[in-house]
Structures are given as structure tokens and as C-alpha cells.
């Protein structure tokens, strides 16, 4: 499959509130050197905990925030240094679906007017809104309503329709269902998958929910404190995550099956402050495998047969899985069965 979008060494720093006139403002890197590529027609799931920079990354990919460093290429064409005018044209090809649906809609406009807005901006025929509204199941009388008259699930449909109305190729979905109840969430997830199949869309699906990411993604990337620590095809990732953080993350997810209770195998400690990241490998203070090397030197993403991970200890852990504090997933399964 051809690559549609490619990000190289993306970084974005923010300035924290200045503490006093005479002190330099503190900088922190919300995203710190992220490279990734998305193939046409696939879904790349980006997983991470709060504060890992996944929302910043999604805005960087779409040029909604200018990067401090690095570049994004769409279809082989650079998007980072183009004029605002060209950017506006590019927006027709790539769109963002927000987590906060209610907040991203103008409260004064009807649903139809919201979905028509991109067409007005780009001078396209307004009838195209009908197709988009029908596609998300909000055609007819529903489209005359205002946002405050609709439920959370319906609002999410509205912003999907608005994102689709210009027939983009590429969507970034930033936690699109995390605010919804399970039964509504399933409706939206199914809708997104149907749309992808019918329209040949390419998705980047950002979420903290490993269950949903498993359901929607073809490939998975795991973020920790502004960096990607592992990328892998979905099946391989869920069968056997390579990075210790991925392993602990996956192991922390409560499985909806009371016969498979996990014993407490917990990521120790709190996530560190993103404004003051640890030296070397950023996961080392919480990592059971950490060594002196990990404390001193940040690991690069390395290739392990079609998947990549940023960890110094992967080979060591593989050689002696029993010795490691974190058992491999296979060994874990047996231990975990609740007697």
C-alpha cells in the first residue's frame, strides 16, 4: 500500500506560565521527535495515557499547530512550509474529528449550517451537505436542529459529517468516542468503519482505550511522554508487545472476563511530569528492566522484523524472559487464571 502521510521527526514545545519577571519561561516538549507513516486506506491507532502528547501530535499532523521542528508530507508533498492559502486547500483533503463534539460546534448554527460551513468556506455547492448528513444518519428534519437539542452520540455524528463533507482522504480522529456510553460508542465505531470501507478513507485513530484501538486499527503506535516507544501491526502488538511500557499498559487494562483476573501487576509510580522528563529512556523510573544504560541514554526506535520499539533491553529480555520482572504474555496467561 502506498504511503499517504508521513511525519518526520516532529516536535512541538510549549512555554509554561512564566514564574516571575526575571526568570526565563520554561519550555516543555509535548511532542518530541515523532516519525510515523500512514498508508492509504489503513487505520493507524495511536495509544497513550493522558499527557503523552497524542492530542498535540494529532494537531501537528493536520497543521493546526505549527511544529517546532520536523515536517509532515501528504502524498509526498511537503505541508510544513506552505502558505496559509495552500493550507486551506489542503484542508479539503485532511480533517480532524474532535473529542469534544459539543464544544467544537457553534451553538448558534443549525446542524445543517454547520455541515454546510466547509462548503461555504471553499465555495463548493451546498447540496454536498445532504450526502454527508445522510451518510451519518442525520438527514431530513434532524438537520434543522441546534446542537443543544441533540445527544452526545448525535453530535459526534454531526462533526463526522462536517469532516466528511468535502470528501477528504485522511481523517485524524482524536478520542472520537471516549465521551460516549458503550452502546452509543459501538454505533459510532461501526459508522466510522463503514465509512472507511465505502469511501476508502485513511484514519489516524487517537485513543487511550486499548479495547477500541484493537477493534479499529490495522497498526498501533504507543506514545509515552511525547515519544513513540513502539509501533507494530495490530495482531502482533496485542499478541506480544515488545516494549516494557506496552506490556505493562496492556496488562493494566481490565479485561471484561471475571475468570481471567489479573494479579496485581502494576506499573509502579506515577507518570512523570511531562515538563520535566527523566533522563535517558523516559520510562526508566517505572521500568522493571531499567539499567544504567537506560538511565543515561535515550533509546532509538529500532526495527524488529516489521515492528519497531525504542528500548535497550528487548534482546536481553528475550533471552531470559523468566528472569525479568515482567513475564512474557504467554507466561502471564497461566499465572493469571484465578483459581
Amino acid at each position: 500500500m502506498p504511503v499517504l502521510l508521513e511525519a518526520e521527526n516532529l516536535a512541538r514545545s510549549f512555554t509554561l506560565g512564566r514564574k516571575g519577571l526575571f526568570r526565563p519561561a520554561r519550555q516543555f516538549n509535548a511532542v518530541d521527535g515523532v516519525s510515523l507513516s500512514v498508508n492509504r486506506g489503513e487505520t493507524l491507532g495511536i495509544v497513550g495515557e493522558s499527557g503523552c502528547g497524542k492530542s498535540t501530535l494529532s494537531r501537528l499532523l493536520l497543521g493546526l499547530l505549527p511544529p517546532s521542528q520536523g515536517s509532515v508530507m501528504l502524498d509526498g508533498a511537503e505541508t510544513t512550509d506552505v502558505t496559509p492559502e495552500e493550507w486551506r486547500r489542503l484542508r479539503q483533503r485532511m480533517q480532524l474529528v474532535f473529542q469534544d463534539a459539543a464544544g467544537s460546534l457553534d451553538p448558534r448554527l443549525t446542524i445543517r449550517a454547520q455541515v454546510e460551513e466547509p462548503l461555504r468556506i471553499h465555495g463548493l455547492p451546498l447540496e454536498m451537505a445532504d450526502t454527508a448528513l445522510d451518510a451519518v444518519g442525520l438527514g431530513g428534519a434532524m438537520s434543522a436542529r441546534y446542537p443543544h437539542e441533540m445527544s452526545g452520540g448525535q453530535l459526534q455524528r454531526v462533526i463526522i459529517a462536517r469532516a466528511l463533507v468535502m470528501k477528504p482522504e485522511f481523517l485524524v480522529l482524536d478520542e472520537p468516542v471516549s465521551a460516549l456510553d458503550v452502546s452509543i460508542q459501538a454505533q459510532i465505531v461501526n459508522l466510522l468503519r463503514d465509512l472507511q470501507r465505502e469511501l476508502g478513507l485513511t484514519y489516524v485513530f487517537v485513543s487511550h482505550d486499548l479495547g477500541i484501538v484493537r477493534h479499529v486499527s490495522d497498526r498501533v503506535a504507543v506514545m509515552y511522554l511525547g515519544r513513540i516507544v513502539e509501533t507494530a501491526p495490530k495482531a502482533e502488538f496485542y499478541a506480544k508487545p515488545l516494549h516494557p511500557y506496552s506490556q505493562l499498559l496492556l496488562n493494566s487494562v481490565p479485561v471484561p472476563d471475571p475468570t481471567r483476573r489479573k494479579r496485581a501487576r502494576i506499573v509502579p509510580g506515577d507518570p512523570p511530569n511531562p515538563a520535566d522528563p527523566p533522563s535517558g529512556c523516559r520510562f526508566h523510573p517505572r521500568c522493571p528492566l531499567a539499567t544504567k544504560l537506560c538511565r543515561e541514554q535515550a533509546p532509538e526506535l529500532r526495527d524488529f522484523g516489521g515492528r519497531q520499539a525504542a528500548c535497550h533491553m528487548i534482546e536481553t529480555a528475550r533471552v531470559a524472559p523468566k528472569r525479568a520482572a515482567v513475564p512474557t504474555p504467554d507466561a502471564r496467561q497461566e499465572e493469571e487464571v484465578f483459581a
Binding site: 514564574k19 516571575g20 519577571l21 526575571f22 506515577d270 512523570p272 511530569n273
Partner: protein, 310 residues
């Protein structure tokens, strides 16, 4: 305590700005000697004073001298009664301080409890009564309230004097006049701040511990609600001084406000600039006090996020 030096620096900056502003305005509006001295002065005297005040020197020297003068309490001479401007103003300070302090006391004493009560019994008749009175209170123009009080208590009932400042009885009407609007403002701020606090999750935690209603309000709600009220108070002190000018005129109260009105009418600029600089000093001081209070009340300011994990 990193914020204290910063605040001091900011206060100094403000003072410097105000003084420089006054200096520049004085130079901009024409020959300072001509402005600071009465209009009907002859050219010889004018030249004498110009020499005496060093107005022939280069501007930066004048500026430094001006500062040096201020630091020694030399604000120039009031031409109206040929007195040292600073002495003239300083003499009035206790009167205005007494009036302003009493009014502020009345405002706090009435406004804060009223606001808290209204918030606790939100939407009840207590709340409605207090808030309706508050709307009337702060819509009432200072000068009009003063006149109504004079009509009722001095002219009709003859209980209290309508002007002057000799006895405590003289203080009653002006203090009420000046305090009413502020009591109303403070009641509104206290109420909204308190309502906000009462809806917070930690108030529910307090309930779930089994705290009684009095303890809950006194130990958990009020310390939190006080933070924004104190901030507002800092700004209100300035407004209070502003309205004191009007109140002092209505009741012929011999304070700084009345002096200011007179001096403005007569363009007695030495006095006006002296009052302006003292006023700026008062504002800066009251802001400092508010900042200190603020840090004392709110640990998030006092103990910075330095040791925080997040």
C-alpha cells in the same frame, strides 16, 4: 516566597511610571512655571521661579531633580495659599483615612455576612431580599444618597449634622453614604464566590466526613470563598477613594477629596500632582497587601508548584 521580590519590583515599576507620567504631562502642557504659578504673575517673578526650580537645565537633570525632590517630600508650592503642597495634603490625610476606613468597615461588616447568607440560602426569600437590596444599593449614586440622608436626618429629623467633621456624629452620614455602594458590591461578590465554592466537590467530601453545617461553612467554604473576594477588594479600595471625593464634597468633609476638587477647579497643579502620587502610592500599597493576603489565604500561590508532581 519567590513572588515577593517580583511584587516589589512591579510596585516600584508602577510608581516610576506614575511619577514619570506626571512629570511628562507637566512638561507637555506648557511651561511648568507658568502652570504651577498663578496666571497673573509678572515676567520677572516667572523668570525667578524658573531659575529657582531649575527649569533652564537639560531635561534629564530636571527629571532627576524632580525625583530627588519627591523623595524628600518636596512636591512644590501651592500657589493658592502659598504653602508647601505636601504639608497641605498631609494635613488632610487623617480625615480621609477616617472616612474611608469607616466606610470600608461598614461595607465589609454588612457586605460579607449578607453575601454568605444569601449564598447559603440561595433562591430563598433571604437571598432575594439581600440581592434586591444590593441592586438598589449599588445603583444609588453616592451624591444622591448623601443628599437624601441630609434631607431626612439633618433637615427633617435634625438628628445628625449635615456637614463638617468635628465629632463622631459628623462621621455617621458620610460613612453610610460611602459605605452603602461598597457593601452592595461586596455582598454580590461574596455571594457568587460562595455559591461557586459550595458547589465544589470538596464540599461534598466534607459532608461525607460528617461535618456539621456550621463547621462546613466556617472551615471549608469561607477560606476558599475569601480568595476572590480579597482580590476584588484590592481594586475596590481605589474606587472607594474615587467616590470619597464626591462624598466629601456633599458633606463638606475636609479631606483630600475636597481639597482635590478645589485644587482642580483652581488648577492648583502642585497640590493635584502631590495627591496623584500619594494616591498611586496608596494603590500600590493596597495591592501589595492584597497580594500578601492572597498568598496567605491560598496555598497554591504561597507554595508554588515547585514540589508538585504534575
Amino acid at each position: 516566597m519567590t513572588w515577593l521580590p517580583v511584587r516589589l519590583a512591579r510596585a516600584a515599576l508602577t510608581m516610576w511610571l506614575v511619577v514619570t507620567f506626571v512629570f511628562v504631562v507637566l512638561r507637555l502642557t506648557g511651561d511648568p512655571a507658568a502652570i504651577l504659578l498663578p496666571d497673573d504673575i509678572d515676567a520677572q517673578t516667572l523668570a525667578f521661579y524658573r531659575e529657582k526650580w531649575g527649569l533652564a537645565d537639560p531635561l534629564w537633570q530636571q527629571y532627576l531633580k524632580y525625583w530627588a525632590g519627591l523623595l524628600h517630600g518636596d512636591f512644590g508650592i501651592s500657589f493658592r495659599n502659598d504653602m508647601d503642597a505636601f504639608a497641605l495634603v498631609w494635613e488632610r490625610v487623617p480625615k480621609t483615612a477616617l472616612l474611608g476606613g469607616t466606610a470600608l468597615g461598614i461595607a465589609l461588616f454588612i457586605g460579607i455576612p449578607a453575601g454568605i447568607l444569601a449564598a447559603i440560602w440561595k433562591d430563598s426569600w433571604i437571598d432575594r431580599t439581600i440581592m434586591t437590596s444590593a441592586v438598589f444599593g449599588f445603583s444609588m449614586p453616592n451624591f444622591f444618597l448623601g443628599i437624601l440622608l441630609i434631607l431626612a436626618f439633618s433637615l427633617r429629623l435634625r438628628w445628625l449634622p449635615s456637614s463638617g467633621s468635628g465629632t463622631w456624629a459628623h462621621l455617621v452620614l458620610p460613612a453610610i453614604t460611602l459605605g452603602t455602594g461598597f457593601a452592595a458590591q461586596i455582598a454580590r461578590y461574596s455571594r457568587s464566590s460562595m455559591i461557586e465554592v459550595l458547589s465544589r466537590a470538596y464540599m461534598r467530601t466534607a459532608s461525607s466526613k460528617g461535618t456539621g453545617p456550621v463547621r462546613r461553612v466556617a472551615l471549608h467554604a469561607i477560606p476558599n470563598a475569601a480568595v476572590p473576594v480579597v482580590t476584588v477588594l484590592g481594586i475596590q479600595v481605589g474606587q472607594l477613594l474615587g467616590w470619597a471625593v464626591v462624598t466629601e464634597t456633599v458633606f463638606a468633609w475636609p479631606g483630600i477629596g475636597r481639597l482635590l476638587t478645589h485644587s482642580v477647579a483652581l488648577r492648583d497643579l502642585a497640590v493635584v500632582q502631590c495627591i496623584m502620587i500619594l494616591l498611586a502610592l496608596t494603590m500600590v500599597t493596597s495591592n501589595m497587601i492584597v497580594d500578601i493576603l492572597y498568598g496567605w489565604l491560598d496555598p497554591r500561590v504561597r507554595v508554588g508548584a515547585g514540589t508538585a508532581q504534575k
